[in-house]
């Protein structure tokens, strides 16, 4: 039971972190595209790569919380 509560808290923290990170990338990319619309395609690809890397870290954390629920 407690493992479930802590895992849920952990999942929430992960969501905050990932949202901050991906939000920052999105805002910067939009700024970049607004300043230089012709570089839009390149910026978009780079944005997706960076977002995927952040997502990877957050998914590691999700996996840990899942394992915590199963173990606890």
């Amino acid at each position: 039971m407690t493992a479930g509560v802590f895992a849920a808290l952990g999942a929430g923290l992960v969501a905050i972190g990932a949202a901050l990170g991906i939000g920052k990338i999105g805002s910067s990319a939009m700024e970049g595209i607004a300043r230089q619309p012709e570089a839009g395609g390149k910026i978009q690809t780079a944005m997706i790569i960076a977002a995927a890397l952040i997502e990877g870290v957050s998914l590691f954390a999700v996996l840990v919380t899942l394992l915590a629920v199963q173990a606890g």
Binding site: T45, I48, I49, A52, E55, G56, L59, F60, V62, L63
Partner: protein, 389 residues
């Protein structure tokens, strides 16, 4: 300009029609699966599954169990329940143990039982039971619950297990996806050969731009013009394999293949092996003696770089697995709310949201195939990069 707008509008409309149909069918599938989960608990499952709110009559539907059943692998391909009769495709069960030898039979012999109550006896006299999609050697006598297995205090069976190399529903789905790919790409390749230098026709005109997209947007910018050609077969295969199987997995009743960690592990191991095998002098130099790093930092840097070789494919594996599984869970949860609240009115909110999630999953299906291929290409690029110091 106007034609582009109409074109995009039409495309969006079609997308939403497809997503809506899939979502409705997912609803039917959840209804039938929750029916299946109820099966054996009592005869009142029908009311619950059809959304009639009659609190004292119907039993609770265990949505968690339904979702768990949907996203995990299974020995038979369960599609739907009609009037308490499970409709499923029986698949071959292949078991091997050094003492008892090889046994092959159809999964329908377990009669949809998953609690170890049905014993399958082969001609050689070997007896097997199935408990939670795991196959064990059956005990001589049934225990207090009527199951032919011994349980420990955590209700885990302690019976011996044969090696299980069955053709499970994920494997069946993979074979289906692979045959679909063979049919599509053999015809595309023949078309490209026949009409070399001419405009593409038929299915070829849909796939040729995608193949060029993988080459021009993924391979060449990240690997370089000189080396990209020898990685193209793998990149194209992995891109279309993930994309087509993601889309097949969104169909109602379809197994969750790319959300199976064993499948994504295999794909990631391919990337790892190809990267390491193609690594040139520069690649290994960057790992064991990173240029421009002071010597006293190397004891810290080298272990990190070596771990880095493995964390890159590991993140590929987890990303694909978690994204697809999470998508399936969210859609099933949204539709499952109807059965949890036992009210058809919840559907007013949850069905449109389910349609929206399904449309989003169509995008995720493409995006995950793209990201997997893109990151693989980046790793290959780092392995074959020429030195520029």
């Amino acid at each position: 300009m106007k034609t582009t707008v109409t074109y995009v509008g039409n495309w969006l409309k079609n997308l939403f029609i497809i997503a809506g149909l899939t979502s409705l069918m997912t609803g039917v599938a959840v209804a039938s699966e929750s029916h299946g989960a109820d099966h054996g608990h009592g005869a009142h499952g029908e009311e619950a599954a059809h959304g009639h709110a009659s609190a004292e009559e119907s039993e609770d539907v265990d949505i968690t169990e339904v979702i768990g059943h949907h996203i995990s692998d299974g020995h038979d391909w369960h599609i739907i329940d009609i009037n308490d009769h499970p409709v499923s495709v029986p698949l071959p069960v292949i078991l091997y143990s050094s003492e008892k030898g090889l046994d092959v039979f159809l999964s329908s012999k377990f009669q949809h039982n998953d609690d170890g109550k049905v014993v399958v006896e082969t001609k050689a006299g070997n007896r097997y039971v199935k408990v939670h999609e795991e196959i064990y050697f059956a005990s001589e006598k049934a225990n207090a619950h009527g199951a032919f297995v011994e349980m420990d205090e955590h209700h885990h069976p302690v019976n011996a297990k044969p090696y299980d190399v069955s053709l499970t529903k994920d494997v069946a789905e993979m074979l289906l996806g692979v045959s679909l790919m063979l049919v599509i790409f053999i015809s595309v390749a023949n078309g490209a050969k026949k009409r070399e230098g001419k405009a593409p026709r038929g299915i070829q005109s849909f796939f040729e731009p995608l193949i060029l997209f993988v080459r021009d947007e993924i391979a060449i910018p990240n690997i370089g013009k000189k080396h990209h050609e020898r990685f193209m077969p793998f990149l194209l295969t992995v891109f279309f394999f993930i994309w087509i199987n993601n889309l097949l997995g969104l169909l109602p009743g379809a197994p969750n293949l790319t959300g199976n960690i064993a499948v994504t592990l295999t794909l990631a191991v391919f990337t790892l092996v190809i990267t390491v095998v193609n690594g040139n002098k520069n690649y290994w130099l960057h790992i064991f003696a990173t240029p421009g790093v002071p010597w006293w930092l190397l004891p810290i840097m080298v272990p990190i770089e070596i771990i880095g070789i493995f964390t890159k494919p590991f993140s590929l594996m987890v990303r694909l697995f978690a994204n697809i599984t999470a998508g399936h869970i969210v859609i099933l949860c949204v539709i499952g709310l109807i059965f949890m609240f036992k009210s058809a009115y919840v559907g007013v909110a949850s069905v449109p949201f389910g349609v929206f999630m399904n449309a989003l999953e169509l995008l995720v299906a493409f995006l995950q195939a793209f990201v997997f291929t893109l990151l693989s290409a980046i790793y290959f690029g780092s392995a074959v990069e020429e030195g520029h110091h």
